[in-house]
Amino acid sequence: MKTQDLVALLAADVTPVDRHILGKRFSWALLLGGLGSTLLMAIGFGIRPDLAQVAQTALFWIKLAFPLALAGGALWACTRLARPGVAVGGAWLAMALPIAAVWLAAVMMVLGTRETERAALLLGHTWRVCPGNIAVLSTPGLVAVFWAMRGLAPTRLRWAGAACGLLAGATATVAYCLHCPEMGVPFWAIWYLLGMLIPTLGGALLGPYLLRW
């Protein structure tokens, strides 16, 4: 087929394009991914029995704010990576800031604790299962966010996959906060972050295969 025939084919009967399709796809992905993670958490791990009490403490909301802020940054990065020729730009900062804040607080808390008690602060009671649990909870979100990204036009597939993974991981961590009894900032800084990095890495590995267009 000659190029001018292809041009004629592509231009024939064009329909107006939905300019808000990107927002719609990611909204659906977040809704379905978030619901999926929450359901999986409620069925698989169970909501913590003292949720009503801890919800009245500031620490609980600070804990929730960490993955929420990271999810916001990752969503921003996703929307930028979904468009050709748009730099990630400020979204890097939006992802780095929550991590930096939690790490700063964690380091200060560890330094302010006696050496004999530091291990308990870092490991909590559930460090062995925490990252794996978050990774499991992130699977519905990973599927949903990859679906959203596949309908768009990412050109840096590895980065786009990683951003999808982080978004799914951060959403899953929000859901996991409703189960997880750990209330130590250093614990979140290590094990929550590690849990979110598993789907991030998975997304980076899958991106070049699943996001090609």
Partner: protein, 181 residues
């Protein structure tokens, strides 16, 4: 240069709103610019230039919903052209992937070449490989210029199935090109 960007952008935006004439003019001009740039940069791959131009046009069409009006069209088109070119290189598994002949997006509209060479790969033949529910809508709506309603009556598909068939078919076509190159 800036006036080319502005003119092409106006045509493209009109195309996004459903103006087929503007969209066609945009694609025509774009193929000229792409051809000009690629001929200049890929002197050792002259035989494949028309293939890459066609692939990029198809990608621009399939990705047109991701363009934001406040973004330079140059940067958007360049990123797609570069992506498709890298795809082409990867498929050829050649060392060319290491040097990036399209390293500067400002040059994308700097030249134009209206004389196409023959494409090596025939998109028409690849079109025949599509399943019927995609091939027939593309054939009737896009090649023969029938309306969606007429195509629906002719094929027995619903109108929304015809629209979905065209949309999906062009994406599958892009995937088939990747597989064939």
């Amino acid at each position: 240069m800036d006036s080319i960007e502005e003119r092409l952008k106006a045509l493209f935006l009109a195309g996004l709103d459903g103006d087929a004439g503007s969209y066609r003019e945009f694609l025509d001009k774009l193929s000229g610019h792409l051809r000009g740039l690629l001929r200049k940069r890929l002197y050792h791959l002259q035989d494949h230039i028309e293939d890459i131009v066609q692939e990029t046009l198809l990608a621009v069409h399939n990705g047109r919903h991701t363009y934001r009006a406040d973004q330079p069209l140059t940067a958007w088109v360049h990123a797609i052209a570069r992506y498709k070119l890298m795809d082409f290189f990867r498929a050829r598994a050649r060392n060319e992937a290491l040097n990036d002949p399209l390293d500067d997006y400002l040059e994308i509209f700097a030249s134009s070449d209206a004389e196409p060479a023959d494409a090596k790969r025939d998109i028409g033949k690849l079109l025949e490989l599509l399943p019927e529910r995609q091939r027939l809508p593309i054939l009737h709506v896009k090649l023969q210029g029938l309306s969606v309603t007429q195509t629906a009556q002719l094929t027995g598909l619903s109108e929304s199935a015809v629209k979905v068939g065209v949309h999906r078919g062009l994406k599958v076509l892009a995937a088939k090109i990747r597989g064939a190159s």
